[in-house]
Symmetry: C2
Subunit: 558 residues, 2 copies
């Protein structure tokens, strides 16, 4: 029996840009054909981008996607690629299950999340995803109806099963039927968002499925960023014994080509991507998240306040890696309480990354407000912080930069932020899912990576080593108000990411006074988190659609 050559096209799609996504399918199908592939597999919802959220419920959007699908089928054949089997994802117009919607009693019917085989100029077959994730960041049960049929296609006389993403995460379902279908290969179209350590989970899961269906599993994942999600790629083929036969790098587009040999032969192996260490992986995810947001929203440059502190320094370094230091505008906005080392560190950082650096003291504005309003304590501290926010928005309005917010996850969790200040405003918050302990770790990793490459470390050493302070009053440091960050982050991890209650936290040995303080801070800060800009999810549970809690709640852990 002839070998079947399989290409996994790990591409970066754009939500809503069906024309550009269709062009990408044509271009990558050609690359696959040039590499001798018999079949090329694209990520989940290739033509529409992922996730499309409530765009799925709009008839005009579904029509647009279907037209692009039909045009793509024709264009592939016209381009001489008619023999190539092309598996793409899209939104299916077909309605399966009625959904109740009070404002539309006759009800629109939900569409499906679909994989489509394009070949010989036509749509040859359609598969509707069975399992619809509706937890964490996912709302697929809201917008899709589940499918019920199997898809097994023929590639050079070999039976190849096709499923979509969540279908392999659930026991039972289409995968459990693939065994009887006697497939020689199972391909999976995915849009699996990045979170730390998820690559291992995917590989373990795929190994289990390969064992179940007694055939290799080819896993193709989306790459690139969409709002708060980063898709890290890392596509692979895995054997029935759990060996990774070939794998693509993370965070970049890639065509992974692999040969399906005879069922009785030892499986073919191919290129293997370098495994990133955990800090490098998270850092690359943050770079990809910011870069994707900037580019896909039509910006060319970003603007942020540089305080000399570690958060803004790390964010500036990420921004420089994402879009080039020359496209980063950093503004130092010293107050009378700002230390000299803060101003020096901010300037040093800007020089190291090649940013457009500016200084705008806030004293004249503070004085103007002070002359009109009698403010003391927190109100006076917050005023300074918010004046910085107004300055950044004014520069953004004047020059068109995207304002980015450098707040970290520990601050966001505890509400240790001034809402509408320079740390909270703008369109994107690159490190909002990175806790303070990790901020320091990533800064050290980035500097070490520079040293290893013989480059100047981007982040001034003193920004890493000095005690964190908002510098809104003389001598202020974060630990006046918060427990030490290493301890705080442990408590937050248990309470926020693991949803543990007070008894479980005490059983871990945390001091009850600290637990009570942290829980109260977290619960009270929900309203601020709701108004915070989007930012890249890198943990198993990010603030945002991953953790949906009421603002108004009297529940107190006791």
């Amino acid at each position: 029996m002839p070998h079947a050559r399989v290409a996994l096209a790990q591409i970066d799609t754009r939500v809503g840009d069906v024309a550009a996504n269709a062009q990408a399918v044509l271009a990558w199908a050609r690359r696959a054909a040039d590499a001798g592939a018999d079949v090329v597999v694209f990520p989940e919802m290739t033509l529409t981008g992922y996730p499309i959220e409530d765009l799925a419920l709009r008839a005009s959007f579904r029509r647009g996607a279907e037209e692009a699908l039909q045009r793509t089928a024709a264009a592939l054949a016209e381009g001489g690629l008619g023999d190539l089997a092309v598996l793409v994802g899209t939104v299916g117009e077909r309605s399966v299950t009625p959904v109740h919607e009070p404002h539309a009693p006759e009800g629109p019917r939900r569409p499906t999340n679909q994989a489509v085989l394009l070949q010989h100029g036509e749509v040859q077959a359609r598969y509707n995803k069975h399992h619809l994730p509706n937890y964490g960041v996912f709302d697929e049960y809201r917008i899709f109806a589940p499918g019920g049929d199997l898809m097994v296609i023929d590639v050079r006389g070999r039976r190849v099963g096709v499923v979509i993403c969540e279908d392999i995460w659930q026991d039972g379902g289409p995968v459990s039927q693939m065994d009887e279908a006697e497939v020689s290969l199972l391909v999976v179209l995915n849009a699996s968002p990045y979170e730390e350590g998820k690559g291992h989970q995917r590989v373990e899961l795929a190994a289990r499925r390969a064992h179940e269906v007694e055939a290799p599993v080819a896993y193709v994942n989306l790459v690139g960023a969409q709002d708060d999600l980063v898709f890290d790629g890392g596509s692979f083929v895995i054997a029935t014994d759990g060996r990774v036969l070939t794998s693509a790098p993370q965070f970049e587009e890639h065509l992974l080509v692999w040969d399906l040999l005879d069922d009785d032969d030892a499986p073919a192996t191919g290129e293997l991507a370098r495994t990133l260490d955990p800090d490098e992986e998270v850092y690359q995810a943050l770079v990809a998240g910011l870069r994707g947001y900037v580019r896909k929203n039509g910006f060319r440059s970003v603007l942020l306040g540089l305080s000399g502190g570690i958060d803004s320094a790390l964010v500036a370094a990420i921004a420089a890696d994402a879009i080039g230091g020359e496209n980063v505008v950093g503004v130092s906005m010293p107050s009378v309480w700002s230390s000299d080392h803060s101003k020096d560190d901010a300037e040093d950082l800007a020089k190291r990354i090649g940013a457009d650096y500016r200084v705008q003291p806030i004293k004249p504005m503070v004085d103007a407000f002070d002359g009109e309003l009698a403010l003391e304590g927190i109100a006076a501290e917050n005023l300074q912080a918010r004046i910085r926010g107004v300055i950044l928005m004014a520069i953004s309005n004047r020059e068109g930069h995207l304002v980015i917010a450098p707040g970290n996850k520990s601050e966001l969790a505890t509400g240790y932020t001034t809402i509408y200040d320079a740390g909270s405003i703008g369109g994107f918050a690159p490190i909002k899912d990175v806790d303070k302990s990790r901020v320091w770790q990533l800064a050290r990793w980035r500097n070490n990576a520079a040293l290893d490459a013989g480059e100047l470390p981007p982040i001034p050493e003193s920004s890493i080593t000095k005690p964190p302070s908002a510098e809104l009053r003389p001598g202020q440091v974060d630990q006046d108000s918060l427990p030490p960050y290493d301890l705080l982050d442990e408590v937050l991890d248990a309470y926020v990411e693991n949803a543990e209650g007070r008894p479980e936290l005490l059983a871990r040995g945390f001091d009850p006074a600290i637990v009570d303080k942290v829980l109260a801070l977290v619960d009270r800060a929900e309203w601020k988190r709701r108004q915070y800009p989007l930012g890249t999810k890198v943990t198993a549970l990010a603030f945002g659609r991953d953790r949906r809690l009421p603002i108004t709640t009297a529940w107190r852990e006791a």
Copy 2:
């Protein structure tokens, strides 16, 4: 056969406050017993409040609810109410279906949305809601597992079926089996959020179900506010022929008592609540929404900017009706472009509603920024608006008022707002789901209601009649930038609420140039809407969790 007396306890619960909700159950059960009731029915998820969102996934929360349930059963008996059948809602600990969660591979199992019969000091029976709404504002499939069994309880020898909310909105399911169960009454525990016209839908639906099961339907609804949702009560009992036999008022707690007579007798009738006209109903919903947010979050007063325009005037009137004019702080923040009539109208309004009125000119702050930053055009206009935001936040920080944002739905839709200005900041946005045309209508309705009651109309006539303007430059009016509001609101209604595409909009006869302009504005403003404060939903589709769209999207209607 003896009559069975049924009490519907339309109460206002608090999310997370299981102790207070349990106390309310005791107090209202006593009132029901005093009225001679055999059974008292409470709203959906009585003990936990509704909606609890991801609190459902927290084991400590479910334990707290279960303990409150058991204590309530005991306390009812100890209080001499052991014979009364008490139907309450809560979160069920019982896990039915496994749910996949990547960060918890062994998986917590989802709990259920439960109705529980308490009698003789014990939990007698539990019913798990079958149909889990997962559209619009609802995410129940995310947090609950569906039930599969029926609940039919005995009340004085009569068979009474019990279901929960969405169970009657779906054809099939438990209601379709109640016919065979030969019930004499179907009771429905609800937490059905208000939207305009929904009362009629509920009655029509309940009538259909009464016809199906050949028995009256007793519909008890939650009342009060929770974040963006208002529950309007309006509980009722409906006969098999579709006649409303008795009904409770909207927007207030109420005990509705009704006798279930012999199946062969003509059904009993009772009190009938006055029907509100549409403007009155929406206005009352807005009052209830703001009042609930203020009280349940522990505030005593609200703070807003008074521009003299219609939006802030309506919001101030709503606030005065919600918490008393003496608890409303209104700040006039004139610029050099503010007209005399604006300042006069703001002051006049404040006097009419008895607000704490203050004047804080912004010129000194504007001058300070102008001296430091060279700003022109939009950047200079936005600066003035944001300085007002900083002033309000400073006063709030100093004095502890809740800042409320007076932006309306037309502005929010088109992004005709300055992000972080006095119209966009704060904790709550009372009219964010009210379009501009409706703002004027509600203002007129409120003034007429005052005249009818022989009171001073709260809103100055000139705030209603003058052309709307942000007054950020000389002679500016909204219609320099936007189509006339009556036309704009029609296009928005079709595009946003009905999710129609461009072809459908053109088929309605709208001018293509206006359609293209409005659609582009709406699509581009998603990032601003995401950072906007919560506000009361009153339409079938409010911005927020009702309409989930990506910020990053290249989809353009064509």
